[in-house]
Each structure stands twice: as C-alpha cells, then as structure tokens.
Amino acid sequence: MILSLEGAHVSEPPMARQGRISVPSEVGRDWLHYAAVAKYPPGLGSMSHALEIEGLEKVYANGLQALKGIDLRVAQGDFFALLGPNGAGKSTTIGVICSLVNKTAGNVRVNGVDIDEDFPRAKRHLGVVPQEFNFNVFESVEDILIHQAGYYGIPLKVARERIDTYLAKLGLTDKRHTRARMLSGGMKRRLMIARALIHEPSVLILDEPTAGVDIEMRRSLYDFLRETNEAGTTIILTTHYLEEAESLCRNIAIINNGEIVTNTSIKNLLRELRREIFILDSRQALPETLALDGFELTRIDDYCLEVQIEQGQDLAELMSQLHGQNISILSMRNRENRLEQMFVSLLEQTS
C-alpha cells in the first residue's frame, strides 16, 4: 500500500516569503507521523527510545579510536543536543547511525529497530541533515528532492505533493526549478532539511544545522525545528552554538575524545554550575570604592559593575545591599553563556 499524503497537505500561505520558514500545522504533522508509524512500525526494542546506543566503538583504518564504547539514549519526542569539540566523535556517531561509517563494535537501535538486524527499516525512521553540502549542485531543487523521495520508494506523484509542502514551509517555493549551485548557503541548508524530511522520518538528525546561516534565518529555523519537534518528531542536533542547545534542547550529551562526558537534562547541567558572573548597569554613577558584604565586585566603569554570584547566594540580598547604598540597577545580564562555561569546565576536567 502506498502512503498517500492527499488530505495531509498542510495549508500554507501561497506566497511564502523567501527567507522565512513557515511552521507546519500540528494536525498535518500528526497525521503524517501516525501514517508513517502505521506503515513502518517500530522494532521490538525499547519502544520509548528513538535512539539507543550501547558500547559503540569505532577504530578507523589508521588506528584512530574515534569512539570508545559510548552509551546513549534519546527518548522518543525529545529535543536532544550532542555537543563536543572538533574531533570528539560527534560526526562519527552520526555516521554510524545513518550507515556512512561502519562500526567496530556495539549496538545501535533506532525506534527499537537494531541496525544490525534490519538497517533498511531503521533508515526509514531517520532523516539526516549533514554538516557539509552533499547534493549534486548541477541538479535542480525539485530533482534533488524527487530523487531522495524515490530512494525511499515514494512515487513521483506523492513526492511532488510533498515537495510543494516542504518548499513552502522552508521558503524555497520560488527556487523549485533553480539549480542547487545557484542557491545561497542558507538556502542550501534549507534544501538539505527539506530533503531529510521528504520521507517523513520520526527521528531527525541535524549536524551543525545553523552553520553559515544568518541570524534572522537561524531564528526562523529554530521555530521550524521547535514546531517539528512539538508535532512528534524526535530531533537530535550537534552544534557549536551552545546557546542554540540551551534554547532548543531539553536533554544534552557532551562527548569528548570518543567518550560521553555527561548525559543529562539541560536544567540539571546548568544546576551544577556553581558560580555565575553578572554585569549590572546602574542608573547613578557608582562610587569610586564600593564593597558589598559577601559579594565579590569589580567596577568596570562609572555605571557598570561586575558581580560574582556563588551557588546559594541570594540575588535579592545583592539588590537590597545596592539599594542601601542608593544604587538602583537598570539592567542585569550574564557575562558569559552559562552552558559554554559548563562545557569548557567539563572538557577541562576530562582532559
């Protein structure tokens, strides 16, 4: 039986503005998700995990041990970040999951389907957006998507309907017949996302999805990914933008030297952070010498102050003491990205 998307067409403004990504209708996405699940049911493994990795090892032909027995679990419906410095093993892990890298040892299950037992069925559940552009730049946008759909057994007619939908969602409708080499970097990235979604996977893996994408497009992309996740698709992303992981993801794993350093929720990770540095802007000029009981201060200029807050210290107490010295605070912000601080600290501990 062929999976027909008739009736599942998501209504979108016909003149989707280039550069903006419109968000899929939740109803439409649900329908697609259930239809896909009905046709390609999960395997007999854990039903609650979109991805399970156990003891995954990879030794390359040159002897480099890229993965040293990693264990990882991503719940179905999760928005998951895989972080790590360059060469940590992120891309190798993704490569094994999507069959571009042959593993040395270990098990990988996608929606309960073991890749050693039935890789084609596991691949059904997966959509992959690689970091590097990997399409034929001499083909048109439409041809690239038709071919990818065909490789999943989706006939031409159904593929064309889905292409209408995804090009509209990703703001590429007017580029349908344009050759890929004529697209900007951001458009190429969106094309790869459309390509990864054309077979309606339940797990979407994105490797550095916003590399080379401008701020406006990045925000649109975040909205698109959030809504895609809310509609039921599990999303796993690797990123160098740590604030991206903090704002998008619920759970996180940090990988370094082929090992998982930590695997927890973003909230738990940030809770472990013992100290934060805040920058405070004052309404009045600050006195030359300023001291507060229990707080470490640095005067940056006449109107700006840096305060170090230790875990357990009270911000209300800080404000109260400042008020007592007739200093009213206009604004307050973190000096550093908190996650970045934690990330660096974890990497330092493990290396």
């Binding site: 571009l100 691949k123 399409f135 730049v137 041809d143 038709i146 071919h147 490789y151 999943y152 057994g153």
Partner: protein, 257 residues
C-alpha cells in the same frame, strides 16, 4: 523495502541517470556519432575500398559491427564511471547510502543508465553507418543479446573503476590504457585469421574479441570464434563483474569509512 518501493527506487535512479546524460548530450551522445562517422569514412570508405574483402565480406561491412560495438563499450563504461565517481566526488552518493535502497537496486540503477546510453549510441551509430553501407541483420536475437550483455558488462566494469577511483585521473586511466588497446586489438579492424598463431592465441584472453565477434555474427553471420563460446565467455565475465561490484557495495569499500 517492498518490491514496489524497490521498483520506484530503480525507476528514480534510471530517471536520474538518463536525465544526466541527455542534459549533457553534446558531451555524451554527439562525440560517438562524429568519431564513428570519421572511422566509417576513413577506414571503411577511403582505405577499405583498397583492402577488398575481409572475413568473406567487404571491409566496410566488416568494420561496421566492430565500430558499433566499440561505441557501446566505451559509452556504457564512461556513463557509469563518470556518474558514480561524480556522486562520490560531490558526496551525493550519501543520498543513496543513507536511504533504505538495497545494494542490488543501486547496482541495477547505475547499470541501466549505462545500458540505455550504450544502446542509444548504438542506434545513433547504426543510423550513421547506414549512410555508408547497407546492413542486413543476420540474427536479431544474437544482436540484441550481445548488445545487452556487453553494455551490462562494461557498465559494471565502469562502476568497479569508480568505486576505486580517488581522482578524475583514475577514471581516465582504465579507458585510455586498458579499454582502448583491448578494443583495437579485439578484432574491430581485422580478422584474427590475419594474426600469427601466437598472437591469435593471446587474443583469446581479450574479452573484446568475443564481444566484437558475437556481434559481427549477429549482423553479418561471420565470426572468428564460436558464437556459443563467445556468449559463454561474455556471460562469465558479466557474472564475475556483477558479483564483484555487489561485493564492493555490500562491504562499502571506498564508500563507507
């Protein structure tokens, strides 16, 4: 994948391959027509008229089947080696590798692209040859069978070459230093009867000898070797090439790290 989905995947690959070589027809289809016209004109018409008969037929008639087969061999090979290596070079082969498309469909898809180009070029060259000589097909069954088997064989060889190639130079080496000499020494322009015994025996190891002679038998009814033996050899070469190409895709050699 269900059989229907595999069929869709195969049609998709065929569509992609055919669109590729028709889009760049001036590089893929036209050169064979021009080159073969020159062969017909120089070797067949100008020089051939002074040579007289060969293998019991006029020299022009003698060279036409060999030249058609030469076009099929080079085009089938070139199509798959260029397309597959191109996909490797720009990483678009990953589109296929991450999909559930089975390896035998990937193999059939690329091979069908090579076969279709080989056959299309064969038709073009045959039409061109009809300007120089009137051909009467001796056996359509033999002609179709040998064209199909030959284009499959050399498409598979092209794919094997592309799997191992790391640079564009690597995909030019085999056609230049292996395929062209084998074709010229495969009895396209002369009958093996003209060779001294030693070289006639050495020629038996050249697969092009069987391909050219089987096709010549289909067209003219004359051959330097037994047609049954020629088919057995082409079939054996094709089977070995298929099994090796399938093995390469299954192990992911040079495709997966």
């Amino acid at each position: 994948m269900t059989p229907y989905e595999q069929w869709v995947a195969l049609l998709t690959l065929m569509r992609k391959e055919i669109r590729r070589y028709t889009r760049i027809w001036s590089q893929t289809l036209l050169p064979s027509a021009i080159t073969m016209s020159l062969y017909f004109l120089i070797f067949g018409s100008l020089i051939g008229s002074r040579i007289g008969e060969m293998g019991g037929v006029s020299y022009m008639e003698f060279v036409v089947p060999g030249l058609i087969m030469m076009a099929i061999v080079t085009n089938s090979y070139a199509n798959v080696v260029s397309s597959f290596f191109g996909s490797k070079f720009n990483d678009s082969i990953e589109e296929l590798l991450v999909s559930p498309t089975p390896n035998h469909i990937i193999l059939l898809g690329f091979v069908s692209g090579g076969v279709s180009r080989g056959m299309l070029v064969a038709v073009i060259v045959t039409i061109v040859s009809s300007l120089f000589v009137e051909l009467h097909i001796h056996s359509y069954a033999v002609v179709i069978a040998v064209v199909a088997l030959t284009s499959i064989l050399f498409s598979l060889c092209g794919l094997i070459n592309a799997v191992f190639a790391n640079t564009f130079d690597d995909i030019a080496i085999v056609p230049t230093f292996v395929l062209t000499p084998l074709t010229y020494l495969g009895g396209v322009f002369y009958s093996l009867e003209l060779l001294p015994d030693f070289w006639a025996t050495v020629s038996q190891a050249n697969p092009l000898v069987y391909v050219v002679n089987a096709f010549r038998f289909g067209v003219l009814g004359v051959s330097d070797v037994s047609v049954g033996f020629a088919f057995a050899m082409i079939g054996a070469f094709t089977l070995v090439a298929y099994l090796y190409a399938a093995h390469l895709l299954r192990t992911g050699r040079r495709l997966r790290t």
